[in-house]
């Protein structure tokens, strides 16, 4: 179920004094089962871009095709598209509203017309995916902790059983433990269910540790769409648009400048450890 974005442009507040170009002539394809990160500086158009994936926004020009369905056509069944592409927005816990966690997770599937028996099965399946216990189900979502709230909100989107999951900074404002839990949940989901995942993130470490490919946007334009190693190879280009490479890559680059060449494409701590071990075995000095 590939997502094809063709020559898409989008402008906010067209014709008013607040007119602002958000996206300009963007094209790319995300294939089935891909794990893609979307990175870019604040205001670069990331959030606008993800809202195109399920037709919440319609592009001014160009086309977005999900699973062969053109989202820009008038007769497209949006409900169906939204069940295919689930979006978890920034701070999703702010969208919780029901009396109990159970009812809140059930909101999405109920909107899609699922029966209560089906919903019960879905919730049983979704809850372990986000690492929640069954005893939270009858609690009010507002008495949970921040991390739990967020997981409930993510579960609410997963309950719609999307084939593509888009997450806008799912780890923002969480402590390191909460962050790792959320990220491993997402990775788990991708590995076990084959869900296509698009992750918007500001943390280059998280990106390097989880995804396969990276989409780089800056000022509404697509700068790069490549594998993690290739994108992080050019640290100056990323710095120019207000981004950076993972810390460990920066260390490796510094070492290289000092004459210790560990090789290219090292973006995770594990890869760096391997490279250093290899380097020392080959008789290099640190």
């Amino acid at each position: 179920m590939p997502i094809i974005v063709q020559n898409v442009s989008y402008t906010y507040g067209k014709g008013s004094p607040f007119e602002k170009k958000a996206l300009e002539n963007i094209s790319f394809t995300i294939d089935d089962g891909d794990f893609v990160a979307l990175i870019g500086h604040t205001g670069s158009g990331k959030s606008t871009l993800i809202q195109l994936f399920n037709g919440l926004l319609k592009p001014d020009s160009g086309r977005v095709i999900v699973d062969g369905v053109d989202l820009c056509a008038d007769k497209t069944d949006m409900q169906k598209v939204r069940s295919c592409v689930g979006i978890v927005f920034q701070y999703p816990e702010y969208q919780l509203f029901e009396e109990t966690v159970y009812k809140d997770i059930a909101y999405g599937p109920a909107n899609l017309g699922k029966t209560s028996e089906e919903i019960a099965l879905i919730i049983d399946e979704v809850l372990p995916l986000v690492g929640l216990d069954a005893d939270v189900l009858q609690k009010s979502p507002f008495e949970l902790s921040g991390g739990q709230k967020r997981r409930v909100a993510i579960a609410g989107v997963l309950a719609m059983q999307p084939k593509v999951l888009v997450l806008d900074e799912p780890t923002a404002g969480l402590d390191p433990a909460g962050r790792n839990e959320i990220l491993s949940c997402i990775k788990n989901l991708h590995d076990k269910k084959g869900t296509t995942v698009i992750l918007v993130s500001h943390s280059m470490e998280d990106v390097a540790n989880t995804v396969d490919k990276i989409l780089v946007v800056s000022d509404g334009e697509l700068l790069a769409y490549d594998t993690v190693a290739n994108v992080f190879k050019d640290s100056t280009a990323l710095k120019n648009i207000g981004l950076n490479v993972p810390q460990v890559t920066r260390v490796v680059n510094h070492l290289k400048a000092k004459g210790i060449d560990l090789g290219d494409g090292i973006c995770t701590v594990d890869a760096a450890v391997d490279a250093i071990v290899r380097y020392m075995k080959e008789g290099g000095k640190c």
């Binding site: 507040g13 004094p17 809202q51 702010y94 969208q95 909101y107 999405g108 599937p109 609410g156 719609m160």
Partner: protein
């Protein structure tokens, strides 16, 4: 859809209307509103129309935006016009069906009311379009300050207004975000009957209320942290100064008022 609500929004442009002292502008707007009710003849409305046209032109906001501000009031506008059209008594009956009748007085009344409402909204939106909320409340605070002796908490009122105005765009943005999030969860706000649609708003309103309370709480804490203790002895960062432009504007306003009064008296 929410982005269409432009009433109460400020357009940061550079024009003579923007530069007029907010105290003057508020008084002018009040004056204008009173004059709308004075002008009850076609000639009077023409004068008001020309004056409004010139002010909009000078403000550089654009007619499209001003007309957009009328959109949310379209229903009230039509409703008032229709009520006036059918239920005004008069001698010359043009059309009648049971208790409904259209008289010439009715038509005139309906047109009068509709025009008045349009000018009312246009006038007050021009004030908010061209005055930043902070200047607006500064102006109100200064204008109300003589009443402080009578026990009117002018500073507190102004502060409440500043905060309320300040949060209109924030809350609109928040609403938009929540609507997006619930739509992504399959919410449907556009179809179904009235009750269904009202019910569909619950998932938007509950998070919105919660976030408003949270924001209010955070703001109160932040203000207290910065030792906010109300208006007593508080000075303002911006001092409002009357310039020659304000006197010119006052002159124009006076001429306009005289024109309306003369027309009304039948000269």
């Amino acid at each position: 859809m929410l982005k269409d609500i432009t009433l109460g929004q400020y357009f940061p442009l550079d024009s003579v209307i923007h530069k007029i002292d907010p105290r003057f502008k508020i008084m002018f707007t009040l004056c204008y509103i009173v004059l709308i009710f004075f002008a009850s003849s076609p000639a009077g409305y023409l004068a008001v129309g020309i004056f409004s046209f010139l002010v909009i032109k000078l403000s550089k906001v654009g007619f499209k935006v001003v007309l957009k501000s009328l959109k949310p009031l379209l229903f009230i506008l039509c409703f008032t016009a229709v009520i006036n059209l059918f239920f005004t008594g008069g001698d010359t009956i043009l059309w009648q069906w049971k208790f409904l009748k259209i008289t010439t007085d009715g038509i005139i009344n309906a047109a009068n009311m509709a025009l008045r409402l349009v000018f009312l909204v246009v006038g007050s939106s021009i004030l908010t379009y061209t005055t930043s909320p902070i200047l607006l409340t500064d102006g109100i605070e200064r204008l109300l300050s003589p009443f402080a002796k009578l026990g009117l908490p002018s500073h507190e009122l102004a502060m409440m207004m500043t905060i309320a105005l300040r949060f209109i765009p924030t809350l609109l943005e928040e609403t938009e975000k929540i609507i997006m999030a619930q739509k992504a969860r399959g919410a449907d706000f556009e179809s179904g009957n009235l009750i269904r649609r009202a019910k569909a708003l619950i998932p938007v309103l509950v998070p919105l209320f919660i976030s408003s309370f949270r924001r209010a709480d955070e703001l109160a804490t932040a203000m207290e942290c910065r030792c906010y203790r109300g208006g007593k002895g508080r000075t303002s960062l911006r001092q409002l100064r009357v310039t020659s432009l304000d006197w010119i504007a006052l002159g124009v306003m006076l001429i306009f008022a005289l024109v309306i009064i003369f027309i009304n008296l039948g000269f």
